[in-house]
Amino acid sequence: MNKINIIGLDSIKTELIKKIMDLGVVEISSQDTKLTDSEWITYVKKDGNENVVFNLDVKISQINEVLNTLEMYDTSKRPLFSTRKTISSSEFIKALEENDSVSEDAAKVLELNKSLNELCSEQNKIEAAILSLKPWSRYDIPLNMTETKNTSIIIGAIPNIIEIDEIKSRLLQTTDRCFMNLIDNDKDQYYCSFICLTEEKEDILEFLKQYGFSAVTFKELSGTAAENIIQYENSLKEISAKKETIDNSITELVSFKEEIQLYHDQLIIERDKNKILNNMLKTDTTFYIEGWIPEVSKENVQGVLDEYECWYDIKQPEEGEEFPVLMNNNSFVQPFEAITELYSLPSSSNIDPTVFMAPFYCIFFGLMLADIGYGAVMSILCFLVLKKFKPEGGMQKLLKVFFYCGISTAFWGVMFGSMFGDAISAAAKLLFNSDFTIKPLWLNPMEEPMTLLIFSFIFGVIHLFTGMAVNAYMLIRDGRKLDAVFDIGFWYGFIIGIALWLFGNIIIPGSDIVGRWMTIVFGIGLVLTQGRAKTNVISKLVSGVLSLYDITGYLSDILSYSRLLALGLATGVVSSVVSILGSMGGRNILGILLFVVAMAIGHSFNFAINALGAFVHAARLQYVEFFGKFYEGGGEAFNPLIKKTKYYKIIKEDI
């Protein structure tokens, strides 16, 4: 990563930014700190116009709403993976010029959507009104009639806790000059009307209050409830007719979706171009850019800058300066960057771990799934999706990772003689009563679990030692050679020594003696060196001795690799359960049908759950055990000025 400073004339600024965006390899970093620096502030001020950016953002969010609306009305089938369509830059510009009415179309959709929402809320209002009128549909006095010359009419609801007749008789005890009519009732309330003398109205309301009476008024309505309901229902019909016409007009506009998507992408580019100005400084006639470019793109950028006659300066970052991180790996390792990214990007002083991690990830994933059939299915599926849908970014990387892991899975399937578990043997047994089995190339983990367990630990030790070696490399790179010897070299010796001492005799008789002496020598070495940061002799020794306790950490790290065996066994055993279940029907049509169905369902399930397990645990072995030995994340991703379009991928033409 190189640091770049550019100064140029204001007149070429817009053109240059466009070119830089086309190149897509320059990160323009924010210069806010310079604006507080008194040396700078006398000459320069911040570039950019917040208002322009804001207005574009508003437009973009409107277009997003338009596209969401159209999406709802679009009946065409959506692909499984949504990917950007490719378009050449000249076509892109041409398409936009041809569709100069696109913003009007978008505005139309927006308008239609708005009136649709208004209609919906009106509909809700009317429906609520109908609901409140429903209980009164049998009430035949006009609703706005609440009094005559001498009488008052009260309508309202009473909770049906007490029998209505009871209330009625009690009311008659209070006054005999009141008519009480039960209009309707539902499961909670009675709906009643009362006709009484106006002078007694207050008394009656007071009386009714103790039964929880709540008066209802429909002041704004004339006519009876039933009439009103009919009116409302008519307007509901009108509304739904209106809604339908709007629906149709929006559906017609769906054909403009692609143009609107183009417009959206153009707005995004425009917004980003304006937004980046905020990161630049200017004087009256010049501009100043500071940023980062990857080493490899140096010449391209220089070419453009020379063309526009800018002053520039490209240099290495200073010692200890944080810079954005761009991982740069070969085509096999590159997809595995996705796994690293899921953890955290390397910090600028750290090393990109992907190249060391990729082969282990692939091997461990395969070991834990270990099946020819599963591996083949996985690889073929990933390959087809990659070819057909051409996904981009993280999705593409993950699919490629699974493609490689599928190959590794099939490889270990060959080693362990597993093809959809023991499906082939079960089928042979069921159909032909023969004892056909696939011979494992190496061993059958079900029969020799101990051997595979030991190999799992050996894989683990290799993995951990690789991690430690990377750490040693980084120490040496930073000029701390002795640290590398003491902290890594001695531990290598100590761990190998213990392993030989305990298990060496199994492989090479007599090697346990060597192991014992290695353990002692390197143990003493560790005791003497691990406390070297301390000042006095006693605490040096104490921390040295205590450091031997770290062996438990290494032990638990190594034991953690037993999951390689355990998860592999899980896949195998569930497969054989599926085979046994499938074979239960015996050798007849129904039995064979059962076999096929059980195989299809059982293996889909087993594959899904164990592939997930393999993915998670292979990642865990990298993140916890491997990265723990040398890696620290926390890097900031390289974020160049590029066209971050959503629907169209704009490619440069070769001229």
Binding site: M450, S560, S562, A566, I609, H617, A619
Partner: protein
């Protein structure tokens, strides 16, 4: 009392104990599932990532099934003709099933809790799903170790 000295009974009891790990998985997947439903209510697009996390505590049940199956296979129950086992042999099977039975239940419940909080994490920061998965996988380590030790013990029992 006779039945407790019957080797075959003890071996089948062992298989049952191992399969009990499914209790833990059921609880764990349940806890994670209710958290996932909450997150998906806010954003239906997170169904895929939350489902992955919900599935993680399910493995203990599979490990239990695996050990149960190996025991049944070893004593010949699945082949139709059971081997006559001595009380000691049956007891061995029962003892060997204990690690995955017990560790399976407890680890799955706790893994379910971690997965549930992981789902919350994904709800707020969808890009951090790997970290949520690794946290859950940390708990599973002990179920894996229990599975392994149960398996090695059963593998070593002579029938």
């Amino acid at each position: 009392m006779n039945i407790l000295t019957n080797g075959n009974f003890l071996a089948i009891l062992g298989a049952s104990v191992a399969a009990l790990a499914g209790i833990g998985s059921a609880i764990g997947v349940g806890i994670a599932g209710s958290a996932a439903a909450g997150v998906v209510a806010e954003d239906p697009k997170k169904f895929g990532s939350t489902l992955i996390l919900q599935a993680l505590p399910g493995t203990q049940g599979i490990y239990g099934l695996l050990i149960a199956f190996i025991i049944l296979n070893k004593i010949g129950l699945l082949g139709g003709s059971m081997t006559e086992l001595t009380a000691a042999q049956g007891g061995f099977f029962l003892a060997a099933a204990l690690p995955i039975g017990i560790v399976g239940i407890i680890s799955a419940i706790h893994q379910g809790k971690v997965a549930a909080t992981g789902i919350m994490l994904v709800g707020k920061r969808p890009e951090e799903i790997a970290k949520a998965m690794v946290y859950a996988a940390m708990v599973e380590t002990y179920a894996v170790l229990a599975l392994l030790i149960s398996f090695l013990m059963i593998n070593g029992i002579a029938v």
